[in-house]
């Protein structure tokens, strides 16, 4: 099978699964998850085959796997609809397929498949007593649709198709965050997520339209692989003074990313998105959706960096990106330090890691950004699934000892490593990868490469901010690990937690393997000792996406030392601080930081700010202006007027015309028909043969007339 066909086929199985489950299979849980898993397995297999083809291909960057068919004829040109597999999309496909598969399998166990359905669970609420999820099949349908969106986005060869996948994912995140729509918090979260990302999407759509109006195409190759298209874009000034067209489009598209991968200031939705089931969190925050944002930025790297070359000063758009990325990294990290909900910590760490990637792109470190995207996808999916497993265990404990504690609050946990060893070890690996534990973990290599790029190209400010963020990352990761797993159980629930089923632990193990191993494909050459043991395959391969291959910058010990330092320092301090936190004791940081702690704990009051700035005015607008004035006053008034006049006309017609004339005629006609019937009913003797005779007579008459009339 030729690779184009493979690429075409990859997104199809999940959408088929979606329709199959929604339309037919939804009554049968086993059938539903079999269909979903099977379809994902098929896509996974196709993706792996394609990935294999891709890495064997000769100079894939300049001769990618493309095929396209005309879709929307627009005037003389026509929007095509096709697939593009170049190194970037190949590696993205790789980790998307793996993580999606892991998450699908995990969901089976997470939703208590095989348990009896608890009679007092109703749809829309999480199962209380550990029965199987009431809307099990629906979950798999949604998540299949989600996977379809992501795969479409990855294999698409033009911005429009990418945008379609993007929006499908937006819809699915809405549906899945609010999967337990019985909970008001979930409802709010879904609305929040949807609207917040919508803002970014609208701006991105603007950028898309602008790009199309300028270049007349949306195909990636046509725009990003064409020197003078990029050149003209970079040269021509845009409608906003001081920005080149490329810059403006870049910023607009980047705002889409800001919404999708939750960069400041549109980061608010992501922590609330934790209301959804944990596989969804993993799906959104690690595997697919937020990665999609970064993927977009990476995809449009040539456009963003149009008119910039290595070593030159950053273009305005790059400045914006780098600034927002770096700021978000630090900002989210600071918030994450103070959170107590195990999933929220991860959420904020996701935001900050995404900030890393964005910052990396901003400073032109394309390969580093891609590298961190991949590694982060793996270890963050691992962490989320691990946290889900922890929560699962805790919920079991809570059910067992009927004490009312929040099963997600890390301060209620502790000492779980004995209860759930697999989860603990995998979580530990994931956490170390996140905090960049030197040499072994994947996170170290990618993060180190970003730092190295930042330092090597002399963006010191970015470098420092990212280093700080890395420090904090290591700190809160260790804080989380030690609060959750180390020390003594702080509640009976934690005492009675237990390990999860294999369907949940197996994905953890698989992902843990990648969380460690995936880093080794990107070790820089001149790295002491290790360098050159494994060739820096990733740099060669992914770098090939760009027109001219970015040269790997030469080794520099300072960023390495820094990153090792911050990682180990953060981990150590986190461990020291949270090693033994006994039950009921408040967070030690609260003592040291005081008011700052409160500010951080309340996430810099961003939710309140937005609520004041946007939500309340929007409510006012809807309530007073739209509803009262426009709807009630104008439209309803007009309609009522129309109604009254119509009634007057109608009554006139009825009394003057209908009753006397028409009804009269009709009645008289009816009477006539009655009379006819009464007269001629004697024909109906009820004897078939007489009917036949009558029929014959008339037929004979007719025939004889017909025959004799014509001479």
């Amino acid at each position: 099978m030729q690779p184009e066909l493979l690429a075409w086929l990859i997104p199809l199985p999940p959408i088929l699964a979606f329709f199959l489950i929604i339309l037919w299979a939804y009554r049968n849980n086993r059938l539903s998850h079999t269909i979903a898993l099977g379809s994902m397995l098929i896509s996974w297999g196709l993706a792996m085959a394609l990935f294999w083809v891709a890495i064997r291909a000769e100079d894939l960057g300049h001769h990618p796997i493309v095929s396209s068919i005309p879709w929307l004829p627009t005037g003389e040109t026509s929007l095509n609809f096709g697939i593009l597999i170049d190194p970037l999309s190949a590696v993205t496909l790789f980790f998307v397929a793996w993580t999606c598969l892991a998450i699908f399998l995990y969901s089976v166990g997470y939703h208590n498949f095989g348990k009896r359905r608890d009679p007092d669970d109703q749809p829309g609420l999480p199962p209380k007593a550990g029965g199987v999820e009431p809307m099990y099949a629906r979950f798999f349908a949604f998540i299949s649709l989600f996977a379809f969106g992501m795969l479409t986005l990855v294999v698409s060869d033009n911005l429009l198709l990418l945008f379609i996948g993007w929006e499908i994912m937006g819809l699915c995140s809405y549906l899945l965050i609010g999967f337990w729509y019985g909970k008001p918090s979930a409802r709010d979260a879904m609305v929040k997520a949807f609207i917040t990302t919508r803002i970014g999407d609208v701006l991105m759509l603007l950028g898309l339209a602008y790009l199309y109006s300028v270049t007349g195409t949306l195909n990636f190759r046509a725009i990003l692989f064409d020197e003078q298209v990029l050149h003209t874009l970079a040269e021509t000034p845009s409608i906003i003074g001081g920005l080149s067209t490329a810059g403006l489009i870049g910023i607009l598209l980047f705002l889409g990313t800001v919404g999708k991968s939750a960069q400041w200031p549109l980061h608010v939705w992501l922590p609330d998105a934790m209301e959804g089931p944990t596989p969804v969190s993993a799906m959104i925050h690690a595997a697919t959706m937020v990665s999609a944002g970064v993927y977009l930025v990476l995809r449009f790297f040539p456009l963003l960096t149009a008119g910039w070359h290595e070593g030159a000063s950053l273009t305005p758009s790059m400045l914006v990106i780098a600034g927002i990325g770096a700021f978000t990294a630090l900002f989210a990290a600071t918030i994450a330090v103070t959170q107590v909900d195990i999933k929220r910590v991860l959420a904020y760490s996701t935001i900050s890691q995404l900030g890393y990637m964005v910052a990396a792109v901003g400073i032109g470190a394309f390969v580093a950004g891609a590298f961190h995207l991949i590694t982060h996808a793996f270890f963050k999916a691992l962490l989320f699934l691990g946290s889900g497993s922890v929560i699962h265990g805790m919920e079991h404990g809570v059910r067992h000892t009927h004490e009312h504690v929040d099963a997600q609050d890390m301060f209620n946990m502790g000492g779980l490593r004995r209860k759930m060893p697999i989860t603990f070890w995998t979580f530990l690996i994931g956490g170390f990868a996140l905090s960049g534990f030197p040499l072994v973990t994947a996170g170290f290599w990618s993060k180190d490469e970003i730092l190295a790029d930042a330092y090597g190209h002399g963006y010191l400010l970015v470098f420092i901010i990212l280093a700080l963020a890395a420090l904090l990352t290591a700190f809160y990761t260790m804080r989380q690990i030690s609060l959750t797993f180390l020390g003594q159980p702080r509640t009976d629930a934690a005492k009675h937690a237990h390990e999860s089923v294999w369907t949940m632990t197996l994905p953890l193990v698989v992902l843990a393997f990648f969380a460690v191993g995936i880093g080794w494909v990107g070790i820089p050459e001149q790295f002491p000792l290790l360098g050159g043991v494994l060739p820096n395959w990733l740099h060669e391969f992914v770098g090939g996406t760009l027109i001219e291959h970015p040269q790997a910058l030469d080794f520099n010990p300072i960023p390495l030392l820094v990153s090792v330092g911050v990682a180990l320092g953060g981990l150590l301090s986190g461990w020291l601080v949270y090693r033994r936190v006994s039950a009921g004791v408040p967070d030690p940081l609260q003592r040291w930081l005081g008011p700052i702690y409160t500010v951080l704990k309340n996430k810099y009051y961003f939710d309140e700010l937005y609520h004041f700035l946007f939500v309340r005015p929007a409510y006012w607008f809807a309530e007073t202006f739209t509803y009262r004035w426009i709807d009630r006053g104008l439209i309803d008034g007009f309609l009522h007027g129309v109604g009254r006049t119509a009634m007057r006309i109608g009554s006139f017609l009825r009394n003057a015309i209908d009753l006397p004339i028409i009804n009269g005629l009709a009645d008289r006609f009816g009477e006539g028909v009655k009379w006819l019937g009464r007269t001629f009913r004697v024909v109906q003797t009820g004897r078939v043969q007489e009917y036949l005779i009558i029929g014959l007579v008339f037929t004979g008459l007719l025939l004889s007339y017909l025959l004799l009339a014509q001479p």
Binding site: R687, E690, I693
Partner: protein
Amino acid sequence: MTVTQLVFLLTGGVTLGAALMVVLSPRLVHAALWLILSLAGTAVLFVLLEAGFLAVVQVAIYIDAIAILIIIVIMLTRRVMIRGETQITRNWWLGALSALILFGGLLILLDMVPIIAIDTPPPIADADQLLEDLGRSLVDVDRFILPFEVASIMLLAALIGSIMIAWPLTTRAEGEGDQ
């Protein structure tokens, strides 16, 4: 008066006489037997018309299926037969009259049309290909496949319908009770 004409006259006479006996004989069994005879006569006439296939089909369908069915029903409902009533309706003369008028009208009609004058059938181009042609034309898309299919659907409908109609009352009630 050639041999074939003789044969025709004999067969036709038998057929018509048998038909008359069908409508005249008081006992239904005899009527059915006469009907069979008349149908067989028609089959022979088909053979005379070089439509051998139709002749066999005539025997297979009419005599083997329809006539036997009729005899079964006669046996099932023979109590009515035994009642020594007249078999003729009150206004049978109307029927006779209309039949006669129709016959006369048909004769007049036949007299009108010119083709009545033909007295020697044209030769058949390839007699042995006839059956194959018939078979092919029934399933040929641009010939008779539509009537053929419609006829088969109708047969199926008749099958199911007659089963439903003749379903015994009691078990049918039970069946409805089940659903």
